[in-house]
């Protein structure tokens, strides 16, 4: 287990927009602190990776769109992994998702979880 590795499991999606910015913000801070951060998107979280969706989603009216928080996290080096089963749940294809996302199976979640000292779920 590596004390510098963090896993964030993102299950919240566009039905609960208030829950959608903070996980990216926290991931961004952790990456800036030199933690190795992976976000794993499953259940409704996968929808945030659908091209364009997060750009028009707001946790707070008049605030920054979720898409900007997402991009900040990605730019800071956070790794994005998308659960294959969750794409099937929402009838998405890998082509529907934004660039920079790796498609992985459920077993990968357990491998990453095994390696990370800190695990969070939103």
């Amino acid at each position: 287990m590596d004390e510098d590795k963090i896993l964030i499991v993102m299950t919240s999606g566009p039905e609960t927009p208030r829950r959608c910015s903070t996980p990216f913000f926290m991931a961004h801070i952790a990456a800036a602190m030199d933690y190795d951060v992976t976000m794993f998107f499953t259940i409704d979280g996968i929808l945030l990776l659908k091209k364009g969706l997060a750009d028009d989603l707001y946790s707070k009216e008049g605030g920054k769109p979720v898409g900007e928080y997402l991009q900040d996290a990605m730019d800071a080096g956070v790794q994005f992994k998308a659960c294959t089963a969750a794409t099937e749940l929402h009838d998405l294809t890998p082509e529907d998702l934004i660039d920079g996302v790796e498609m992985v199976g459920g077993a990968t979640l357990w491998q990453i979880a095994d390696e990370c000292n800190t695990k969070l779920s939103f």
Partner: protein, 148 residues
């Protein structure tokens, strides 16, 4: 004390003009680190936290690695190590009251201290003196930053 675009920037400090931080060689190999008045301006001036990475104290860090995080309601950013070396300590006063990093950035508001491995080599990547401040000024003007 020199004033560039309304920002106080002492000539004797060594600056990372990308991250708006300063470094100052102290006794022995100790290097003190802080944020500039430019960083204070960009942060909006109302800091909510200056957090030195506790897990890194006592560890050897490469130049550019984050030693602390500065947060305000409109800004969050790392304070990178200006040199390679060991992170010795954070400033407890600033941890308790982050506003000191803005009100007295070159005095009591310093953020952390490192033991430099090779200050003479690493200082070449920082800017200092009248010439260094000219470089810093060009950067501020390019980005339209003013402390006024």
């Amino acid at each position: 004390m020199a004033t560039i675009n309304g920002c106080n920037l002492p000539e004797d400090l060594y600056y990372n003009i990308e991250k708006h931080t300063w470094a100052k060689p102290m006794e022995g190999n100790t290097v003190r680190i802080g944020m500039t008045t430019v960083a204070a301006k960009l942060s909006g001036g109302n800091l909510t936290g200056v957090t030195v990475s506790k897990r890194k104290i006592g560890k050897e860090l490469k130049q550019g690695k984050s030693v602390a995080m500065v947060e305000s309601s409109k800004f969050v950013g790392p304070v990178p190590a200006p040199v390679q070396g060991t992170l010795v300590r954070g400033n407890d006063k600033v941890a308790e009251d982050p506003s000191i990093a803005v009100s007295d950035p070159y005095g009591d508001g310093w953020i952390a201290e490192m033991e430099a491995t090779d200050w003479e080599t690493d200082k070449a990547s920082l800017v200092t003196g009248a010439e260094g401040l000219e470089t810093y000024k060009a950067k501020l003007e390019e980005e339209g930053i003013s402390c006024d």
